[in-house]
């Protein structure tokens, strides 16, 4: 499962993100699903999505090493599948 990094995304407005010690909890009020973002970097990336023209731009802006982008792409894909983020 993967995601197009050259597209714009945003967090679904029905999702609340609550920082925790090692990442954040995302709760989707609509589908009641609970997702853990397991690193601070991942949290920053997710929060940066709406402010950038593409997911790749958001990754770059957050200083994420390109070599690790595939892991982030996988993670973003699963967030899209659970409706935490969506293309905008």
């Amino acid at each position: 499962m993967t995601i197009a990094l050259d597209a714009p995304y945003a967090v679904d407005p029905r999702v609340a993100i609550r920082p925790e010690a090692f990442g954040a909890l995302c709760y989707h009020y609509g589908n009641r699903r609970l997702t853990f973002l397991k690193s601070r970097d991942m949290v920053r990336v997710v929060q940066a999505l709406a402010e950038h023209a593409t997911a790749a731009d958001a990754l770059r802006a957050c200083g994420i090493a390109e070599a690790t982008w595939p892991r982030y792409a996988d993670a973003l894909a699963s967030l899209q599948a659970s409706e935490v983020i969506r293309e905008r």
């Binding site: 609340a16 925790e20 909890l25 009020y29 609970l34």
Partner: protein, 377 residues
């Protein structure tokens, strides 16, 4: 996908609880034999509407995503609809559990019109004889009426929750069919010797063979059925059941009782597991984050007597409430330990020294009735 890192993190505690249970009232129109909160009579010190709203405001600030509302019977409170609407308006979703008596056609329509609201109806038998032996005469009919009203009002999927007992283990398939017939989701949950449950646990809890039956059934049906992770003690039998399989008390969950007391979980309404009060100076947030009890629960727990058992990693020593109320030490086997270690130990427990939470809010007339005996069928 390994969940060990995540589970490890959850065991150390979260900034705010995930499944916060809030019992709105000790008043109840039923007197279920196994009531975990020994409900019946309203406590005069109950949180006022204003206090309840202030608590909801605090939960909103803490970003608690949703609350699990129960009791007693929460719908008995006159401000029930006012409070759940307030919660929803303040970004706190509501999931509430009810015996269904007060879900008439109008209430069902009202509930159906609300969003971010889940409803759960409690029932403990697939027919009136089985159910009413535990929950009281007429309770089965009331629950079924509530389900019908919710369905007719177009509420959508609600939940049906059963507590597994010696007398309904053989009805699991029937419960699944009942839930399917309503397009509802089934929850099966573990009986603990908590509240009034302490009196009836010895005759109501599933036998060792029945526990294995439940385990097998859950393995076969676990995908669609909710358990609230309440059967993780059965993981010592083999392949782990779906779920996080950890005790969340004081780490992921806690309970706020009708008078604002904060306990580690709904099954330990006892001084030993009382963390503080929402009426304390720092409110709920400081109890959740800083109370001695919760801080200690977030320390690594000792396996104690279970350390030498190969199953400890799977079963985590079981449920602390189950151990506590039958008088077993917390750092040892669960009374329903699948290897029988708990049962052995139980034989040497002095029943007179078992912790008791007292009659709680049980209606006095109930206390005068004969103790429940095994149901004859």
């Amino acid at each position: 996908m390994s969940a060990s890192g995540l589970v490890g993190g959850l065991k150390r505690g979260l900034d705010a609880p995930i499944c916060l249970t809030w019992e709105l009232t000790y008043a109840c129109n039923l007197q279920c034999v196994h009531c975990l909160s020994s409900s019946g009579v309203r406590d005069p010190r109950e949180l006022t509407t204003a206090e309840a709203k202030a608590l909801i405001d605090e939960l909103e600030r803490m970003q608690v995503f949703y609350i699990n509302i129960g009791g007693g019977e929460p719908m008995v409170r006159r401000d029930f609809f006012e409070l759940i609407a307030y919660a929803i308006d303040h970004h706190v979703g509501v999931k509430f559990s009810t015996n269904g008596t007060f879900i008439d056609r109008a209430a069902a329509r009202r509930l159906a019109s609300m969003d971010y609201l889940d409803v759960q109806i409690s029932i403990d038998g697939i027919d009136a004889p089985t159910n009413d032996a535990v929950r009281g005469q007429g309770s089965y009919a009331a629950a079924r009426r509530a389900m019908d009203h919710l369905q007719n009002a177009g509420f959508g999927p609600f939940k049906i929750s059963i507590v597994v007992t010696r007398h309904n283990v053989d009805q699991l398939d029937d419960f699944k069919a009942l839930a399917n017939s309503y397009g509802a989701q089934l929850r099966v949950t573990r009986l603990r010797p908590s509240g009034r449950g302490a009196e009836s646990w010895h005759v109501l809890h599933p036998t060792a063979d029945q526990q294995r039956q439940v385990y097998r059934w859950l393995l076969a049906n676990g995908e669609d059925v909710l358990t609230g992770d309440s059967f993780f003690h059965l993981n010592a039998l083999g392949e782990p059941l779906p779920g996080l399989n950890m005790c969340g008390a004081g780490r992921v969950v806690c309970l706020i009782d009708p008078i604002g007391e904060v306990y580690a979980c709904p099954f330990v309404l006892h001084d030993q597991f009382r963390a503080g009060s929402v009426r304390d100076n720092g409110g709920f947030a400081s109890v959740w984050r800083e109370s001695e009890l919760f801080v200690s629960l977030r320390e690594p727990q000792s396996a104690g007597a279970c350390a030498s058992c190969g199953s400890y990693d799977a079963c985590q020593g079981g449920c602390m409430a189950a151990k506590f109320f039958v008088g077993l030490p917390l750092d040892g086997p669960d009374p329903e330990c699948v290897h029988g270690h708990g049962e052995e130990l139980l034989a040497s427990v002095d029943a007179a020294r078992r912790p008791s939470a007292g009659p709680g809010h049980t209606k006095p007339v109930t206390l005068l009735r004969a103790r429940p005996t095994a149901v004859t069928r």
